[in-house]
């Protein structure tokens, strides 16, 4: 008989070992999945995890790594604050879209004025504000009417997608685009473009922002009273109230900050790698960031590492699609498995697995 026995204190070793084990378990289960699809499992796994870093075409993929990891980390840091406090923002994808729309709209409004010192910072602020306000909708609804922020934030993603499509086809459509959907390409507008800072590295202002977020997130959680209140509210809501923490304030703060960071990520993406507001602008960073946040143990440094790992599965997954013909859905399933195994293995942090050999009387 297998029993679970509660540990007297959570195991630190297991807390950090489970992400690694989850990656291994995902490789095994994913390998089986690919084998059933008639692909060589070892080859697929190697294409996903090895080739982008050390393979023949790694010089191309390496730059992509920062491009993909940047938004994932930036969003995940924001989400992790809420998740620690028990505030479940599932709609980062929507906040990401709204940040991109607001940031891009400000930039396009100034076109073709050449004043980067004014326009770019304004766009950054507009991006953050757009994401923040979008996240405040579930926040205010929860604090005022006690609605469930999981549902509201998730459903607002689909609203944001509709707004995105409308913007791409209507108000923000490029006047010089010959009627095609999509805004002007911001990369061709120097005052608003989020260019690579070092050519070929993939490093842009969004990646810088992600690194800053990691540092600030770490300082906030370990040193600041707000970070302490966040952890306290998540660990024990009643103790938090005893400590004088205002739950409503915390809900709004967590949603506001995570929305703003998602908004920043959206703006840096639209002004950089994506270049324009278009119907297919969002590719699921907001959802994948949830996996990143948990894979990184809701810890800023963990999230940094997890962000790179997930970026790798994105890039490697695309490579596997391109070179081996693995379906895109299989790659998404593969990423989902990672979260599944992580949550399942998380039990070991707080519980010890005991196997009784004794036969039942």
């Amino acid at each position: 008989m297998i029993r679970l026995e509660r540990r007297p204190a959570p195991s630190r070793a297991w807390a950090w070992a489970t992400p690694l084990l989850a990656v291994l378990a995902t490789m095994v289960a994913g390998g089986l999945l690919f084998a059933f699809l008639g692909k060589d499992p070892l080859l697929v796994i190697r294409t996903i995890f090895w080739d982008p870093i050390l393979g023949e075409f790694a010089f191309y993929y390496r730059g992509q790594l920062l491009v993909k990891a940047g938004p994932l980390i930036l969003i995940a840091i924001g989400l992790s604050l809420g998740f620690r406090a028990g505030v479940w923002n599932i709609g980062a994808e929507g906040q990401y879209i709204m940040g991109a729309i607001c940031g891009a709209a400000v930039g396009l409004a100034f076109y073709p004025l050449d004043a980067r010192w004014l326009i770019f910072p304004m766009m950054v602020l507009a991006g953050g504000l757009g994401g923040c306000l979008w996240a405040m909708i579930p926040g205010i609804l929860r604090t005022r009417f006690n609605t469930n922020e999981i549902l509201v934030s998730l459903l607002l993603v689909y609203v944001a997608e509709q707004i995105l499509a409308w913007m791409a086809l209507g108000p923000l459509r490029s006047p010089d685009g010959a009627g095609f959907p999509g805004s002007r390409n911001l990369r061709h507008y120097d005052a608003a473009a989020n260019h690579e800072l070092i050519a070929g590295s993939g490093m842009h202002w969004g990646v810088v922002a992600a690194f800053i977020a990691v540092i600030l997130g770490h300082v906030l959680l370990s040193r600041h009273i707000l970070g302490f209140n966040i952890r306290l509210a998540g660990a024990s809501p009643r103790a938090a109230r005893f400590a004088g923490v205002n739950p409503g304030f915390l809900v709004l703060t967590c949603l506001g900050v995570s929305g703003a960071l998602a908004g920043f990520a959206g703006f840096f993406e639209v002004a950089g790698p994506a270049g324009q507001i278009n119907i297919d602008f969002n590719v699921g960073y907001g959802f994948t960031a949830i996996i990143v946040a948990f894979l990184g143990r809701l810890h800023p440094v963990g999230i940094l590492l997890a962000g790179f790992l997930m970026a790798l599965t994105y890039i490697g997954g695309e490579a596997a699609q391109a070179t081996l013909g693995v379906p895109a859905a299989a790659i998404q399933a593969f990423q989902g498995m990672l979260l599944f195994f992580l949550l399942a293995l998380d039990v070991t942090t707080n519980y010890r697995v005991r196997i009784d050999v004794r036969a039942r009387a």
């Binding site: 540990r7 007297p8 204190a9 959570p10 040193r223 600041h224 009273i225 707000l226 302490f228 952890r231 306290l232 660990a235 024990s236 009643r238 103790a239 938090a240 109230r241 005893f242 400590a243 004088g244 205002n246 004794r358 039942r360 009387a361």
Partner: protein
């Protein structure tokens, strides 16, 4: 050879019903039971005595089949007894009444009993049997009452009758009197004595030494997981028993201070609806506490204690002038604003309310001490100060932990309570409110906490102690008041009162009030209705 389990066993002639030999159970970092041996006869009320963490609970859980020992063996009625589960234990004739009841409030007594049975008989037959058992053993209980309307003592009777229906040979009782009024305790003792005359063995765990002296025939004393002695408790004084248990001289609280000073905090006509489901509404509370005095508030749990603490700590806000600190209206202030003014509180629930279970003691020190101990400057927490405060508490209040980095839930109840109380006292409060300060604590820890409360009062602080333990309130409080169904009685000087009078004020009043119609209607709770 193993040590003979009962060194005085020669005097006790009849063959033992339960024999425990060389029992050992280790958890990571602690040996809960180490070579524990004792034997107990039929027709005996056998006390298991010991401080918190002495291993009593581990021992009875092993006997009841909830835990399996690492080493050692047990015999029941001469046969080898090794229960793999509580089911095995019940089959063998061992039953247990837990400290915390597992009853469904919305179901009636008979339904609750039926849920615990493997093959319940038809309800009508079961109701008859419950009535029979309750009459035979002098445990008044109506099988058709809804559990939500029962008092703690009546709920305990449900658990006891549930056990007795299995006709056990051994009945284990874990801290049975901690929730009872003196009258209910008297009824329980009559029942246990009747069971004893029927030849049943009762394993009785309690911290209350006077009780054990009044009831038990034999006592096995545990300390740090080992048996340190066994004796006939009727032949020893409570003090002697306590000293065998603790292994050191007991510090009895010093005399209380005289001449209370000015009114420190007062509540005038406060009515507050509880935030919690199944909570109790506070009704028209008047309260005054003076500097240098301890105001004891007695009452059986669930009569508004949690709500009163929340109103005083600032977790529940009220109209500004409903609570006055001196002349300052503080009713609308939150917990930290009140802490800044010197009003501190220690809630009853140690894990999950007074502390965050998965956080360490440094973080838990910052939980309530952040404001008054100036641990935060410009928004940043000074963890050095938090650690210093935690370590100061650990040292001053003899909290036994590996270090301040231990998480709260790894501490035993007594140690955590010492930490919780110490954390507030060392912040030098002007007004301290504590709820059940010594609940479930051993004699030494309880005495230490009571002493620290008395010291605090003698230094000029106003202390409010909410407690179910009447002996405790009689011992330390200057004035006494009773909380019953959300109403606070007029305080009286403790010196003028007898325990019996207080018991009537608290528990007796329950039964008396049934006749008034409104308070405890004898009917099923409807959905959405609050059951007191």
């Amino acid at each position: 050879m193993r040590r003979d389990p009962g060194s005085d066993g020669a005097e006790r002639v009849s063959t033992p019903l339960l024999e425990v030999q060389g029992l050992r159970k280790a958890y990571p970092g602690v040996v809960a039971n180490d070579d524990v041996s004792f034997s107990a006869r039929r027709g005996e009320v056998h006390a298991l005595l010991g401080e918190n963490g002495a291993g009593k609970s581990t021992l009875v859980k092993t006997v009841y089949g909830l835990l399996r020992p690492d080493d050692g063996r047990m015999k029941l009625d001469g046969q080898v007894y090794a229960p793999g589960s509580p089911h095995d234990a019940r089959q063998a004739g061992v039953a247990m009444v837990f400290q915390h009841f597992s009853l469904f409030e919305a179901l009636d007594v008979a339904e609750n009993v039926a849920l615990g049975m493997e093959v319940p008989p038809p309800m009508r037959e079961l109701a008859t049997r419950i009535r029979d058992v309750s009459e035979t053993y002098g445990l008044p209980l109506d099988p058709n009452r809804v559990v939500g309307t029962l008092s703690a003592g009546e709920r305990q009777r449900v658990e006891i009758i549930r056990c007795l229906l299995q006709e056990p040979q051994v009945l284990i009782m874990d801290e049975p009197t901690s929730v009872l009024t003196p009258q209910e305790v008297a009824i329980l003792f009559e029942t246990l004595k009747r069971l004893r005359t029927e030849g049943k063995l009762i394993l009785y765990i309690s911290h209350k030494l006077e009780e054990i002296r009044a009831l038990c025939d034999w006592a096995t004393i545990l300390r740090h997981g080992k048996v340190t002695g066994s004796c006939d408790p009727r032949q020893k004084s409570a003090r002697e028993l306590a000293e065998t248990m603790v292994g050191s001289e007991l510090a009895l609280p010093a005399a209380r201070t005289q001449d209370p000073g000015k009114v420190a905090l007062s509540i005038a006509g406060l009515t507050a609806v509880s935030g919690a489901a199944f909570g109790t509404e506070l009704k028209d509370i008047f309260l005054e506490v003076r500097r240098g005095e301890i105001l004891g508030i007695g009452g059986v749990a669930g009569n508004g204690q949690d709500e009163l603490l929340a109103v005083l700590s600032g977790e529940s806000r009220s109209a500004p002038d409903s609570i006055l600190l001196g002349d300052l209206p503080i009713g609308s202030f939150g917990p930290n604003e009140r802490r800044a003014l010197g009003v501190l509180a220690a809630p009853e629930e140690r894990l999950g309310h007074a502390t965050a279970p998965d956080m360490n003691l440094i973080e838990n020190a910052a939980l309530s001490g952040r404001r008054r101990m100036r641990m935060v400057s410009r928004g940043f927490v000074n963890w050095g100060k938090a650690r210093a405060h935690a370590e100061h508490v650990i040292e001053q209040f003899d909290v036994r932990v590996p270090g301040a980095g231990s998480v709260a839930r790894s501490l035993s109840g007594g140690n955590l309570q010492k930490f919780v109380i110490g954390r507030e006292i060392l912040q030098q409060p002007d007004v301290l409110v504590v709820n059940q300060p010594t609940w479930g604590l051993d004699a030494a820890a309880a005495a230490a906490i009571r002493q620290s409360l008395l010291d605090l009062a003698s230094q000029g602080a106003a202390v409010i102690v909410i407690s179910q333990d009447l002996d405790e309130l009689m011992e330390i409080s200057t004035r006494f008041s009773a909380l019953n169904e959300g109403r606070l009685s007029k305080p009286r000087d403790t010196a003028e009162l007898t325990l019996e009078e207080i018991g009537l004020m608290l528990g007796g009043a329950h039964d008396l009030e049934i006749g008034q119609g409104s308070s405890r209607p004898d009917r099923a709770a409807e959905p959405g209705e609050t059951v007191p």
